[in-house]
Structures are given as C-alpha cells and as structure tokens.
Amino acid sequence: MTLELNISVLWPVLAPALAAVVVLVLDVLWPRGGAVHLWLAAVGLVGGAAATWPAIAQGAGDATGAFCLPSGSCLYAASSLTGGLQLLALGSALVVLVLTWPAWSRAGRGSATSAPTVVLVALFLAATAGVTAVPAARDLGTLLVSLELATLPVVALVALERRAARYRGAVAGAVALLTTSLVSFALLALGAALWVAATGTALLSPEAAAEAAAVPERSALLLLAAVLVLAGLGFKISAVPFHAWTPLTYATAPLPVTTYLAGTSKVAALGGMIVLVQALAGTSGFALVAVAVIAALTMTLGNAMALRQVDLVHLLAWSAVAQAGWLMLPLASLSSRAVHAAGGYLAVYVVATVLAFVVVLTVARRPDGGVLLSDHRGLARHQPLTAAALGLALLTLAGLPPAIIGLVAKVVVLRPVAADGTWWLLIVATLNIALGIAVYVRWLAALIERTAGEEVLVPAPAAEAAAQTQPRGDRGATAAPSHAAYQMPVRHRVLIGALAALLLLGSIAPVGIF
C-alpha cells in the first residue's frame, strides 16, 4: 500500500500533539521544570497557528491533502476553511492558556489534592490537537479518534479543579460531561457503523454517499447514519436535546476551562458537522430536516432559558446553546456556501464569547467581584474600557450595530436558509433574533446601570453566592478592599484589547466572513 504522506500540512495538529508529548517527557527528565511546561505549550500553540497559514492562503476550492491513497482521496485535507477553523481553535486555546497561566504555574509539582501542572498542560495540548484534527478529517476513523481526543482530556481538566471549595462541584460537572460524551460517542460509533454499512467504505467520500443515496434502502441507512453522527456531534456543540450537560458543566468547571469548552471545543463540533455535511454534499435533494429541527429547537430553548439566568456563566452557557442553533442553521442546506457561512459565524461567535468570558473572569477576580449579573452593575463607570469591550462582545452576539460583524454573520447564516426557501426556519430564526437581543441587552443594561442602590437590589442569597464565588479568580482574593486598589492584570488588558480589536476590525471590514 503506497500512501502519500505530506507532513508539512499536518503541523497545525502535530505541533500541539508533539508539545504534549514533549511536556510529558520533559517532566520525567527534569521534574523541577516549573513554568517551562507553559512556555512549551505556548510554543506549540503558536507554532500550530503559524502553520495554518499555507492552508488559509489557498484559493476557495483548493485543499492540500496528506495520507492520500492512490485513488486520490485523502485522510487529511486542509482547505482554507479548515485552516481558518484550526487557526480559530489554536488562537482561542492560546487565550485560555494565557488566562490560566498563573493558576497553572503555581504548584508545579502538585500535591495530594491538586493535579501537577504537567498533567494539566499535557491534557490541554492533547485536547487542542484533537480539536485541530477534526475539521481536517476525511474518514470516519480519524473523525472518531480526533473527536474523542478533543473530549476526553477536557473531562479530566474539568475534574481536576484545584480549589477545595469547588472540587466537589467540578467533579459533578465532569460526570455530567462524561456521561453525555460517552453516550454520544456510542451514538457516533453506531452512526459510523451505519455509514460504512450504507456506503461500504470508512472514507467520507461524497461520491460513495451519493451512490448510496441513490438506492432507496441504502439511503434510509445513510440517513440514519447521518442522524446518529449528528447526534454524536450535537452534544459537543450543545445542541438541544443534547445540551443538558452544558449549564451544569459550564458553571462548575474552572472558568478558563469553561472558556475552552465554549470556544475551542465548539470548533471541533462544528468542524465535525462540516465534515459530515461536505460528505453528504453529493446527495442532491437529501436535505437534513434533522439539522433544521435541531437548529430551531436549540436557538429557541437556549434564548428562552438565557433570558432567566442571573448567573452570568449560566447565561453564557445558555447563550452558547442558542448560538449553537445559529451555527447549525446554515448546515440544513447542504451547500458549500452554507458551510462557509457556518465557519464565518463560528469565528465571530468564538471571538465574542471568549471576550465575554475574559471580562467575566476579570470581574470575578476582582476582590468584591463575582459572576452574577449584579456584579456587573455599573461596570461602565468603574472600568469603562472593559465595559465597552464587553458591550461590543454582547452586541456582536446579539447581532446589533455598531457591532456590524455580528449582524453580518447573522445575515450570512440566514442567506442559505432563505435561498433554500425554508420559510418556517427563517421565521423561527427571526423570532430568535428578537429573543437574543433581549438576552444580551439585559446584560448591557446592567453594565450602564447606576450603582447607587446596588446593596438594595442584590438579594441576600445572591450576595452570599457572590461571596462564595468570590475566590473564583486565578489567584484568589489578594486583600484589596476597594475598586480603587484593584489593578487589572496586564494579560487581561491585553487579551481584552486584542479580542475587542478583532471584533472592531471585523465590524469595519467584514470581508472574510462573506
């Protein structure tokens, strides 16, 4: 069997993967490594991100393959969309790494109660490698393995909460994530089996799928396979009804890990869906009603639930659910334009959500801060720039000007739906724009609200909860009693500035999204 290797295109996956291995080996050779692990991780992520450039720079229809069979089909194919998704994954992972840097650099060797840094970094890198491998997968084996690689280490990361007060909750969150992921993987495996049964090959080739779709019995099998694979991926993107773990795990995991779940992990989920949709692209008239139904349900339920939340992490969790619906919306029409629309929306969503999480984390880290809506009251007065960045992120998520990029993204994902003439879906989506605006504007209103009556407005249990969640920041409370004494760490400033600049740039010239 001759197989054409093409290692150079693999670097976006290999760089974090190698970094993970090197980190583990280094720990054996040099147990007192300290922060070296984190630097290695950063190098791995940056290297991977840099390696995505050749793929991104390609033309629209091109793809570079690796592990190509003589028949021409490859097990790994990097189109410009793939490169973009990989860059997004690596970039958001880098943000998470920066966020979690002080927490992980502390207690490098670990103790009986906290996991050693090397484990955390290695798991983090392994998961990131998995995420970057998913969008490039062109066969079921790679898809299964890389999806599991993107999930399993994250379960452990959730469970490896280092703070005693939150450990128990974190384990519960990990259990919720774990059980859902196990069942989803079982569904994915069943779906893969049915796919092979329908098409006769484990390669996700559009030709084989089209051939199978032409035969009535096989087409039912293929449809069932698609639904099962979709369900298996649906858990990762938090689509209804596979979403139940989302609020639970988001709220209990360490905040940087939550950011990872909300940002980087979604790339894997959507990447998997895109791979599936591209494989089904040849089956004309084979519209996935299931995707449309899931998308409609997801955005409606997510927005409705988000409306009620007072805990901002919960709110963001449900917002993630709602946005998952938007991500899946264009995929209901199996076209390449739809795939690009979903990719563009994902980029906008990830940047905005990660920005929102960074701000929430910053505020939570403040001595008297927390993750409740009431903790953000009057933020525009104390930290106008931070509040402005958060406002930009929220407006982007809501799709309101002046954050034009969010609006553009929404228009772009609605375009394939309108082109298909799926009117009921369009109506549901439009209603959800209104619902979504209500969700985010509620938060925005809190930002610019006066703080005079804050003590009165916060009910006692909420204040208690705020007190409990107070040490949720990276270094815990560092005895700074007032707003004035608090200095936002430089890395948070840089992150907020960079992400907000990305959104602003996108709003000025939303070119790449189209």
Partner: protein, 681 residues
Amino acid sequence: MTRAVDFPWPDWELPTLPLPGVPDIPIPDLPGTPAQAAVLLAGAAGILGLALSKRSSRTAAWIAIGSAGLVLLASLWQMYSLHEAGDPRISTTIGPLAFGELVVPLELSASRLSALVAAVVGLVALIVQVFARWYLWFDPRYRQFSATVSVFTAAMLLVVLSNDVLLTLIGWEVMGWCSFLLIGHLSAKDSANRAATKALLVTRLADVGFVLGLVALAAGAGTTAIDGIIGHWVTIGSDITVAPGQGAALTLAMVGVVLGVLGKSAQLPFQDWLPDAMEGPTPASALIHAATMVAAGTVVLAQLLPLLQAAAPARVLLAVLVSITIVLAALLAFAQPDIKRLLAWSTVSQVGLMLAALTVVPVGTGPDAAIMHLVSHAWFKALLFLAVGWMGVLTGGTVVRYVVSATKRYRTLRRPVGIGLLSLAGVPPLVGFVSKELVLAQAEHGVQHGAGTAGTIVLAAVGASVPLTAAYCMRAWLILDRGPRRRAVHQPGAQQGHEIIDDFFAEPEVVEEAIGIEEAESAISSSARSAVAVLGFLSVVGGLLAFTPQLELDLVINLQLLAAALLLMILAALAVWVASRGVGSRDAAARLPVSVSLATERGLGFDRLYRAVVAAPVLRLAHWVQWLDREVLDAYVRAAVPAAKLLGGALEQTHPRRPAPGLVLVLGGVVVLAVIGVVVS
C-alpha cells in the same frame, strides 16, 4: 392639449451662442482627479475646521472659506478638463470593497452635467460661507456652523459625483444629519430643535424607501456601480426595455427611490418639514434650499433616469405627486405671513418643477432641462435667501409687518431682492425665465413624445405654476417696495448698524447666547455684500448657460406657449396689484379670510395628518410591543416556574442539573430525530 401644430407661428430651435473657443490653459498635472479633490477638500475642511480652530472663529473662517474657494476652483477645473477630455471621467475613492458576489467599486464619475452641478454647489457653498461669516459674527457656535456647512457640501458633492449607490447613500445620510445640525443650530430655541427633529424624522421616514430601493437595485444587479445597475436592469435602444421578468421588481425598487426623493425634496406627502426648517440661520436655509439637500433628489433621479423611464408606475407616481405639490406649494406660498416661509414654499414648488421635468423626459434624451432649472434655482434662491436674511438683520424680522416697505427704507436691498423676485417669477430675460420656459418646453415635448396622462398632468401643473409664481412674487414685491414708508414697527438698524465688520482680520466678540443673532447690530461687510452681488449677476445673465454646449437641449420652444405663459404671468401680477390696492401693508394676501391664512401658515394641518398617520400608529405599536413584553413575554417567563411544577415528574426528570435525565434527552432525541428523518425522506 396645447399642441400648436397648425399655428402659423414658427417653432424656435435653441441656437448655440457663438462663443469664443475655450482658451487652452496649461493646467498643472495635479495628483488625483478634481472630483476626488473637491469631495476630499470639503470633507477635510469640516474636520480641520473643528480640529484646528481652537475657539477662534477667525481661524475657522479662514479654513472654511479658503477650502470652499478651493472646492470651487477644483470643480471649475473639472468642468474645463471634461471639456478637454470628454466625459465621463471615472476616479476611484478608497478602492473596491470585496463583498462576495456584490461588486462595490466605490468610484466617482464626473460627467458634463454632474460637473456643472458640482460647480454650482461649490459656488453656492462658497458664497454661503462668506455670507455666514458676517451673519453669524457674534455667534459662539460659528465654528461648528462653518464646519457643518463644509461637511454638508462634501456630502452633496459626493452625491453629485457618485458613480456608486453606496457612496450616494453615504452622502445622502450625511446630508440628513448635517441638515439636522444646521436647522437646529440655534439649539437654545425650542422651535429650532423641534424643526430639526421634524426634518430629521420626516426625511428619515422617506429614506427607508430610498435605502430599500437602492439596496434592491444593487442586489438585483450584483453591483453598486450606477452604470452597472442601469445596464443590468434595462437595455437602452431606440426604446427602453426592462430585463425580462424583472419589471415588477424594478418598479418596486424605483417606487422606493422615488419615495426617498420625495422626502428629501420636501414634496407631497413629506413637504411639511421644509418650511419649518426656516428656524435655521438664513445661510443654512440658503444652502439647504438652493443647491444641496432639496436638489439632491433631482440629481439622483437624473443619474437613474433610464430606470425611472422604464418603471412607468414609479414615474407616474412621481409625476402626480409632484404636480400636486407644485400647485399646492405655490398657493401656500402666496398666503404666508412671513417672507422666509414664502420663500420656503416657493422652493417646494420649484423643486417640484425640476422633478416634473424629469418625469416627462422621453427616452433617449437627457435630463438637461431639469438640471438647468436646478442651476438657475440655486442662483436666484440663494440670492433671495441671503437678501432676505440681510433684510431680517436690518428690520428685526421677516414677518410681513416688520418688512413692509423694507426696500424703500434700505435702498441697497432693492436691487438684489428685485432681481431675485423677477427671476423667480420667470420674467425675461432673467435666468428663471430661461429655465422655466425650458421646463415648460420639456413638458410639452414629453406630451408630444408619448409621456401619456402623466405628461399632461405635468404640463398642466407647470403651466399653472407660472401665474401662481408670478402672483406670490408680485405680492412679496408689493409688500417690500410699495408699502407705506412709515409703517415700520421696529427699526433697530436705523441708528445702529454702522459698525463695519472686518471679516478676516478681527476676532469677534462672541455673545453668550445665540438667540437674537438675527438682530445683529452691524452693517453688512463688504465681502458678504459682494457675495450677494455675484449671485445677482448670475441671476441676470445665467440664462446664457442654456445656449452653451454645457447643456444639450434639443428642445423646440413653442412660441405660442411662451407667449401664453408670459401673458398669464402679467395677468396674475396685475390681479395681485389690483388686490393689494386699499390694503394698508399692500399685502394682497390680507384679502384672504383669516381662517385660510392661519391654515396655510400651519401648512394646511399636515402636522396633524402626520400625527394621525405616522406618529399615532407608531406610538400605538410601541404600546402594543410594551404590552406584549409585559403581559405575554413576561407571563411566559413567569409561567415557566409554575408550569415546570405543574408538569411535575416529566419535566423534573429533564431538569438539567442531573446527568441521568440528560441522557434520556439524548437518546430519546435521537430516536425522534431519526423517525422524523425517515418519515420525511
């Protein structure tokens, strides 16, 4: 209709003046095209004017007037270079934008007509800047005013020179906001704020149609370039044919555009904002009325003329509404108790004439008659506004009882006001006469070349406007010049007004509050006076423009029609003169019943109509939405808690805080989805 086929009088073709050849002036090879330079200079002047002139009105004046002069030079240079090189001349702005399939070249285009309009805009803007320097001498917010005027000019130039609907939209919107600022300049005055808001709201309402129309046009064509849009929608041969199957879409889009134009040009049913906009300082009114905002609609429609010709329903809609406006506004102008408001209504009527001329252009000919009227209107209306503003300063107001016999008291005013009114009335050989006859000839030409019922309506309205215009001009003149000499109520200028303002070399003493600036206590500065004189000169001899190659008018003047128009004009003037006899102020409108003059002053109650048709439904909608929010959405949110309890076990099982029920959702969901999938396929 008034077709003079068998009449022995010969029709008269417009001759071309035996002009000397344009001298071959060596022009330095400057970077960029004049179109770029004009727009950039004006825009930069607005920004620099605010940025550089730190509280100094003098610096602001230097920047504003200097740049306006440069803009005028650039636009003249543009006319000259087009004459040399032929048109149109395309130039880029910031380079094309990539919007997927939509091509957005963002180019400017200077053609024969747009260069002419640009030059007129530049000239009027310069004169207004010069005049405003004197008029707003004591105003603490002169800097903002001059900067806004600069930006306004830039926006208008952008619209005029645009070859891309996106640029047109930008200019259009910027003009809307600038007009808001200019009208509301005297921000301490309640009425000014109200008028500004009204102007903004009314034009904004109409802009919805404009934006939708342009977006539809661009989306259909896949490009925002104007020539591309025209090329996509219609095919111009001997007759215009719409691309097959797109007639309805084109009509809808053009109706939208026409609505926007009606709004910006203050035509029925959006006419009401313009007279109220008189709350702005007089130079602002001169700018808005003469060459910029209200004329923008004419410019845009002239650019899109083939589309308008192809979309018959939109053309008929425009023709009918504009015809009604022409007559109605002329009637209203006659009854206004304030000279400034009279001029405002006359603007509404005159802009209607320009648009009317556009609706009857037969296929294959250009919008030259409308543009000619635009140009001539820009000159004489600017002249009139500046002269009336000057008069207001001298007499203390522009209400009839203040200005009675004003030109008798202040002889220097007599000539500019007289020329302006004569030109407005269309007395030969002034510029107004030439352009109005051209519009009339265009209408007649259109009727002969199959403009249909719409053409007939337009011809009737244009014909009716001739005596009506003459009537209100006569009325104004009688009040101003023939009134009793000593009826003056208020004469602040009599003993004061001798302090000559030194325009450029002195820093004014700024008064704290802008109210009362109109009663400025200074004699007019020489530069402002010469600016007015330039306009007066152009109003007299500007008609010659029609005989130059700058305009291509292959119209045939029907001499019979011309004679009839002149006769009607004279009869109307005589009637007004007769009516004015025996009235103390020589105001012919005083013969009207009080109820009528009150109603006309209030714009025939259109305010109330707006409130009933637009404001009330919007408010009701808002109430309804609020109710929906409170009673329905909130109820839904509220009901979520008890509903969950009611549903009991089933919903409790799906409570997302436990892992096991989540699994039920997952697996149950898969089965349901699979069943849906199998059933549907």
